[in-house]
């Protein structure tokens, strides 16, 4: 079922690429329309899965990836519609396509561990997924900032210079995305910690819960990512860190998030295996 959104994301990707290369307004409108269709199809898929398991499907890594892709697409559409700026699409859509192939190939079976039967779980996962989506946007904005910065600084006003928005716009959007991402990352991590403590009191022998400690790679990386973004937020306010430096931080931070989200979730973690 995750194949249809994937196909539509791919079609939107082609349209965004054409729009970016040729700068034709019609191609841009087509791109947005196809992306909206893709998000609607994806909403339908997630809605069906929600009805099937009784909550938004994200207790299995593949389904969490699918939900993340959906949230990222929604966040991007929000950014595009509020700023009337389509240039980012060509960078965001490949992320959507790349990640959506995972649930399209292996849909995964939603876990039904009784421990997960808690509102804390819902808040924990949805905050983190939304944080990841926002941080993914920040990373793309940061990356394009670096590209645009380089062209202007080196006085090579080339392909990207004419197509990307101004440095100021990219910087402001990047700061906003980092702040929102950091806020939800904080909520997600704090709720996770509180919920672990509560669950331990109820079922002290669960191996999953015993592994919930800083030496678990998933938790370690999450805390590390949180530290990076906290620094980005604080440095902007107090140390005048903006522009290229925060742009680099947002890319670096998202590499950690992505590592944590994919390889670590699938192969290394001892906790979070429901």
């Amino acid at each position: 079922m995750n194949v249809l959104p994937l196909i539509l994301y791919a079609a939107a990707g082609v349209a965004y690429a054409i729009h970016f290369a040729r700068r034709q307004p019609q191609a841009g409108r087509v791109a947005t329309t196809v992306l909206i269709l893709a998000v609607l199809a994806h909403t339908f898929v997630i809605g069906m899965q929600t009805m099937e398991v009784g909550h938004v499907p994200f207790a299995n890594p593949s389904r969490a990836v699918s939900t993340f892709v959906w949230l990222l697409a929604l966040s991007y559409l929000y950014l595009e519609i509020t700023t009337d700026e389509r240039a980012m699409g060509v960078f965001i859509i490949p992320i959507l396509i790349g990640l959506q192939t995972i649930p399209a190939i292996s849909p995964g079976v939603e876990a039904r561990d009784p421990i997960l039967d808690s509102p804390w779980f819902w808040v924990h996962v949805s905050s983190l997924l939304f944080a990841y989506a926002s941080l993914a946007l920040a990373a793309v904005l940061g990356l394009t900032y670096i590209v645009q910065f380089k062209e202007i600084k080196k006085k090579h006003l080339g392909f990207f210079y004419t197509r990307l928005p101004s440095l100021q716009t990219l910087d402001v959007m990047n700061a906003r995305a980092i702040t929102v991402g950091w806020l939800f990352l904080t909520i997600g991590v704090v709720v996770g910690a509180v919920w672990t403590a509560q669950a331990r009191a109820i079922s002290p022998d669960d191996p999953n819960l015993q592994a919930m400690a800083l030496n678990d790679p998933k938790i370690l990386f999450a805390v590390f990512a949180w530290a990076v973004y906290s620094f980005a937020v604080v440095a902007r306010r107090t140390m005048g860190w903006s522009g290229r430096r925060t742009a680099r931080l947002s890319v670096f931070g998202f590499v950690i998030v992505l590592l944590n989200f994919l390889p670590i979730s699938y192969f290394f973690t001892t906790s979070h295996t429901f």
Partner: protein
């Protein structure tokens, strides 16, 4: 009806002559009206900018049109005609339309692709339309030209990229800061190029322009000109701290802004970028300043380079724009040709309607007994029959592919239906064809100019 164009442009006439033939400083509408009143031209539009003065007219007689426009130019500007005759260029029909399309597309401009010309063409047409000096031909031609201008702008990059140093600087500032509203500008040295760039920045809505110069009087003069305030030369370095954009253009032989000067106001003290535009030769700003993270330093050569790149890019787009113009001229020609069939079509309809009326007249005695609504229906039915019979031949006649075929077909239709025969009403009773009648050419232009209803469907 023929389209005819006479004018001077930067390609044919020096600036002093263009100034003498300029209409834009005077009442354009009055000029157009004066031309239409005194000449045989049915329609007229005058396009006058600093690079061109062009008169477009629609006239039945292309031969006398030229003479009339020349006389008008001479009288209106009170110039001896020998002064401007060698510099005039003239085009008629398709060549005139092609010229207008190229002008609207920005292809004939001094700076190819410059954006103002399309608006100026629209204004010129508007001024003439307000005085009721335009008609079907010029209206169609000019609206077609607006469409060509729009197409070229949206489908090619002909108008893209700044092509002057000061515009290039403003374009860069916009890529760094986004909107320039609320930004502060420091101008160091009050030269001509500082004035020009400051004015461009002002029109972008910058919050404040601060000017400093070694000669306080120069700074005051520039401040008055662009609407800014001045600071003493000694405070130049501290003024950098408050600025987002610094423009330097002094005559100093040595750099006046060092790396340390800028370093002192950037870093932790301010996170915002600083854009320094150094248009002075020799340079005012130490090149090492650009090593500072959030500083973007451009000197006059860098900006010149951007301008050259943009000009080259526009040059590469010319062929695409010309192709669009050529395509539109072809389409326009097809429309124009379909228009040429109109007099024949009108005459044909007239002939058929005359026959219809004559027949009804002949049956008057028998129809007299019918009630009024039945008589009205008879009238309606006969009219519809005539219209339906003529619909297909009319369309076919208009869609003929080339001029020769069209001439042959028109001639055939004229001959077959004895069009142009003054006593057409008598044709109800067929008689031997009159050689005289078929030999007489139809007066095409006369009937087209009357603005027959059949004229309208072509202005789709």
């Amino acid at each position: 009806m023929h389209l005819f164009l006479l004018g001077v442009s930067h390609r044919t006439a020096p600036v002093d002559l263009r100034e003498k033939l300029d209409f834009s400083s005077r009442d354009l509408g009055a000029a157009v009206e004066a031309l239409v009143t005194r000449s045989a031209a049915a329609e007229s539009v005058v396009l006058s900018t600093c690079n061109r003065s062009e008169i477009y007219i629609a006239s039945a007689d292309a031969e006398s049109a030229r003479e009339e426009v020349v006389a008008f130019l001479s009288d209106y500007h009170q110039l001896p005609r020998d002064l401007f005759l060698p510099h005039l260029f003239a085009h008629s029909d398709m060549a005139a339309a092609r010229h207008l399309f190229r002008v609207a597309a920005g292809l004939d401009s001094l700076v190819v692709g410059e954006p103002q010309i399309l608006g100026q063409v629209k204004d010129a047409f508007q001024a003439a339309a307000e005085r009721h000096c335009t008609g079907p031909l010029l209206s169609k031609t000019f609206h077609w030209a607006f469409g060509v201008g729009k197409r070229v702008r949206s489908e090619t990059a002909l108008g893209e990229g700044a092509v002057s140093v000061s515009f290039a600087a403003v374009a860069l500032a916009r890529k760094i800061f986004g909107r320039l509203e609320g930004r502060r500008v420091l101008v160091v040295g009050a030269g001509e190029i500082s004035a020009l760039t400051a004015q461009h920045l002002r029109s972008q809505g910058v919050a404040e322009i601060v000017i400093t110069s070694r000669t306080a009087a120069h700074a005051d003069a520039l401040a008055a000109q662009v609407g800014g305030r001045t600071v003493p030369w000694a405070q130049m370095r501290t003024a950098i701290a408050d600025a987002d954009i610094v423009l330097t253009a002094t005559g100093s032989q040595r750099p006046i802004i060092s790396r340390e000067d800028v370093k002192a106001v950037t870093g932790r003290r301010r996170a915002e970028p600083l854009f320094i535009i150094d248009v002075a030769v020799p340079r005012d700003v130490d090149p090492a300043v650009s090593e500072i993270e959030q500083v973007f330093l451009y000197n006059v050569d860098d900006l010149q380079g951007i301008v050259q790149d943009n000009l080259a890019r526009r040059g590469a787009e010319i062929a695409r724009a010309e192709a669009i113009v050529a395509e539109e001229v072809t389409r326009f020609t097809v429309w124009q040709r379909s228009r040429r069939a109109i007099p024949t079509v009108v005459a044909l309809r007239q002939r058929f309607d005359d026959i219809r009326r004559a027949e009804l007249q002949r049956l008057e005695a028998r129809l007299a007994g019918l009630p009024p609504d039945a008589r009205a229906r008879v009238d309606e039915v006969t009219r519809l029959v005539v219209e339906k019979l003529l619909l297909e031949p009319t369309e076919q006649l208009k869609a003929l592919p080339d001029e020769e075929t069209q001439a042959a077909y028109t001639e055939a239709v004229n001959r077959l239906f004895r069009l142009g025969d003054g006593e057409s009403a008598g044709a109800a009773s067929p008689g031997p064809p009159s050689l005289e009648a078929s030999a007489r050419p139809p007066s095409r232009e006369a009937s087209a100019r009357q603005g027959n209803p059949t004229d309208r469907p072509h202005e789709k």
